[in-house]
């Protein structure tokens, strides 16, 4: 892109000058403290200067008498945190939905869990909390003892209401197409979808609150269990944020070992999704083929970490286990075997009539909409929006490893699946390179159990897109606040938009092309 050398901080400084307080190098490129209302001005300035400005997350923090609202905003070459505060007795702040449409769900979440009211985008009911959760109690506030909250009786059974000519089809919470319990109320006019209303929160386990009562070491294993598929990315995100507060320098070998773990994670996740897409369009053979080829990767994860699913390899200060030299040839041959199978799959995706019919031109998302809705990962890259944290903001050893950013321009389901297919090959290359260039030396250093007071963010590219962590510490062994923004949470708004106007039968393939993970979304 042409505007890669904009200094966004200077732009903000020149436009708003003394009205804002800029802290360079904090929470990304810079943290910008604003008084109530000015956050919109900062955002407007950023949007004007850089077309790739988008919202990554909104973190709500209980600061005692006030509530902190942190807007984490990414641009093409920087990451800025806008810090606003609202009083607890009147927690009102202007919405930013009119500037960035993708912010709606982020605002709802802060409203639901922390009770901040976004004027112009008020939450009705609940987003992630259960329907019988009492009004006016917000679990992430420090004075709320969440286990003592009394729930009201269970709600009535939901029924599809009579809405005249249109028909409302309720998908979920128990549905064969969904592995996870979520509800989507799809309104159809004949065969055409006119509206999709999601109800998430069926998998909400309160992990963000729970992490505040556990130690940092315990939290690594807790946040890992946010998602069983991209678990290594979650553990890495938390560990990296804590290491930033501690200013720990991880040994070189650990950086490469982490890359191998993260890429093995991506490989098994992408193969899973490519197969699952086959299942959703009724092409079960493809599903069985992909899952057959996924099993050797699971064996590799077991070989390197000792467990099939939960690698539990990441730890604060490095990794827990080394890869033995005797295992390296086995890893390489397994990956080469997988590489030989890719041309066949690519040819299937290219020529197979059923795939063409069910995936081409389904769920079309334009580049402009992708930027507006702040989508991430393969969904963004399938629409020509070239964001990949591994390249844009390299972490661990990614800066030293050559690989390509995969971008497709079509923006349909087919393109999103092909991004994943190409990334499988890139992942194989990355692992091979990392194994060949693995530095010698220690793979772990000791770190203190108590973390000094501070706050930090970490970003990494999970299989489904950018995974964001915000950690605030207070000098004890337990964190003060852990905020997680998962990729599916950012991608859901795009599905709600692309499904409209399409056939009801196209809902499953369109939906699965996001690679939805609700245990991530709800936490």
């Amino acid at each position: 892109m042409s505007n890669n050398n904009i200094d966004i901080v200077k732009v903000i400084q020149s436009k708003l000058g003394d009205k804002v307080q800029i802290q360079l190098g904090q929470l990304g490129t810079a943290a910008i403290n604003v008084s109530n209302g000015l956050h919109r001005e900062v955002l407007k300035a950023m949007l004007e200067a850089d077309e790739k400005t988008g919202l990554t997350a909104i973190s709500g923090v209980d600061l005692g008498t006030t509530l902190g609202v942190l807007y984490h905003v990414h641009t093409s070459n920087a990451f800025v945190t806008i810090r606003a505060e609202v009083p607890k007795d009147n927690p009102k702040i202007q919405t930013i939905v009119d500037l960035i449409p993708g912010a709606a769900f982020h605002e709802y979440e802060v409203s639901d869990l922390l009770g901040v009211i976004f004027v112009g985008n008020e939450l009705k009911g609940h987003l992630v909390l259960s329907e019988n959760w009492p009004e006016g109690i917000y679990p992430l506030r420090k004075d709320v003892k969440a286990t003592e909250v009394k729930l009201s009786p269970a709600p009535e059974e939901e029924k599809a209401p009579d809405i005249g000519k249109l028909v409302k089809i309720i998908i979920g919470p128990q549905h064969p197409a969904l592995l996870e319990p979520e509800k989507f109320a799809v309104t159809v006019d004949g065969e055409i979808v006119t509206k999709v209303e999601p109800r998430i929160g069926y998998v909400h386990r309160g992990i963000e609150k729970a992490s505040e009562s556990r130690t940092y070491v315990q939290d690594v294993y807790l946040v890992e269990r946010i998602c069983g598929i991209c678990n290594a990315c979650h553990a890495y995100g938390f560990v990296a944020a804590v290491e930033k507060i501690l200013k720990t320098q991880v040994p070189e070998r650990a950086k490469y070992l982490r890359v191998v773990t993260l890429e093995l994670n991506r490989l098994h996740s992408h193969l899973l999704t490519l197969g699952h897409a086959g299942l959703e369009i009724g092409y079960e053979t493809l599903f069985q083929y992909f899952w057959r080829d996924r099993e050797p990767i699971m064996d590799l994860i077991e070989l390197t970490s000792g467990n099939r699913v939960y690698a539990s390899l990441m730890t604060i200060g490095g990794v827990r286990r080394d890869i033995k030299d005797v295992d390296v040839p086995k890893i390489k041959t397994t990956l080469e075997d997988l590489r030989k199978k890719i041309p066949f799959y690519r040819q299937v995706y290219e020529n197979e009539p059923s795939i063409k019919a069910r995936m081409r031109n389904v769920g079309r998302l334009s580049r402009e909409d992708a930027i507006k809705l702040c989508v991430v990962g393969p969904v963004a890259r399938g629409s020509g929006y070239d964001i990949d944290v591994r390249k844009d903001d390299p972490y661990e050893a990614y800066g030293e490893i050559p690989f390509n950013k995969i971008v497709y321009k079509e923006g349909d389901t087919w393109a999103r699946m092909n991004v994943r297919m190409d990334e499988v090959e890139e992942s194989i290359n990355i692992i091979q390179y990392a194994l060949d260039h693995m530095p010698k030396g220690p793979f772990r250093i000791d770190v203190p159990r108590n973390v000094i007071a501070g706050e930090s963010i970490s970003r990494n590219e999970a299989p489904r897109g950018e995974l964001f962590y915000y950690v605030k510490s207070n000098g004890t062994a337990n964190p003060e606040r852990v905020k997680v923004r998962t990729p599916t949470f950012a991608n859901i708004p795009s599905f709600l938009q692309t499904a409209i106007g399409e056939n009801i039968a196209d809902v499953p393939p369109n939906f699965v092309s996001l690679d939805p993970c609700f245990s991530c979304t709800d936490r």
Binding site: L129, S130, E131, N132, W133, P139, A146, T147, V149, L151, A154, P155, E157, P173, Q174, H175, P176, L179, E180, P181, G201, Y202, V203, H204, R205, G206, I207, K209, A210, Y221, L222, R225, I226, C227, G228, I229, N231, L272, F287, Q288, W291, R292, R294, E295, M298, R308, V309, Y310, C517, S519
Partner: protein, 190 residues
């Protein structure tokens, strides 16, 4: 007839999978069971989309507040006899999420559970082992093959036992009835 039904049930258990707030770890392992490496369909195990056709309910997850009511509803829709298998540490006891505000913790707090499979997540082999153990429990153990002499000895034993037990049992029963009547009488009069 019962034997035939049991035989059919053991040979082709249709399972329904319900995620009650799991992290996907156990769920993916259940799906892995259906794929070529493990392939449980060769044992007649079939994943069934509807609760109304299922014999065995495989539940994963720590049961969130939002899911508890739905889990009960799914269980109620299944025809009798039905069996529930709790898969994973969360389904067994709440696991790492025990005590969180939105978590009920453990499938057995909502519906009765027949078999527990621990692990985070359990390996596909462990899930298979759990389901096989459940099915074996349905099948009554086959009687041992006895020789003629043993059979005669056995028959004699049961005969003697019947005679020995039968007489005193009646006495005991009648005594109990009498004593009960005596106890009840004054209450009735009042």
């Amino acid at each position: 007839m019962t034997n035939t039904v049991t035989w059919a049930r053991v040979k082709s258990p249709w399972v329904l999978h319900f995620n009650s707030g799991a992290c996907n770890g156990c769920d993916i392992e259940i799906v892995a069971l259906l794929t070529p490496k493990y392939d449980v369909e060769r044992f007649g195990v079939k994943l069934e989309p509807s609760p109304r056709h299922a014999d065995v309910l495989l539940v994963t997850g720590c049961v969130t507040q939002q899911c508890a009511e739905r889990l009960k509803r799914v269980y109620d829709q299944m025809p009798q006899p039905k069996f529930v298998v709790a898969i994973g540490a969360c389904a067994c006891s709440g696991g790492v999420f025990q005590g969180n505000y939105n978590v009920v913790g453990g499938v057995d707090k909502v519906i009765p559970v027949t078999a527990y499979i621990p692990g985070c997540p359990p390996r596909p082999e462990a899930i298979l082992d759990g389901v096989v153990k459940l099915l074996n429990a349905l099948n009554p153990p086959k009687p041992k093959k006895l020789s003629k002499q043993e059979k005669q000895a056995e028959a004699l034993k049961t005969e003697q036992a019947k005679q020995a037990v039968a007489a005193p049992e009646v006495v005991v029963a009648s005594q109990v009835v009498k004593s009960v009547i005596e106890e009840v009488k004054p209450i009735v009069k009042q």
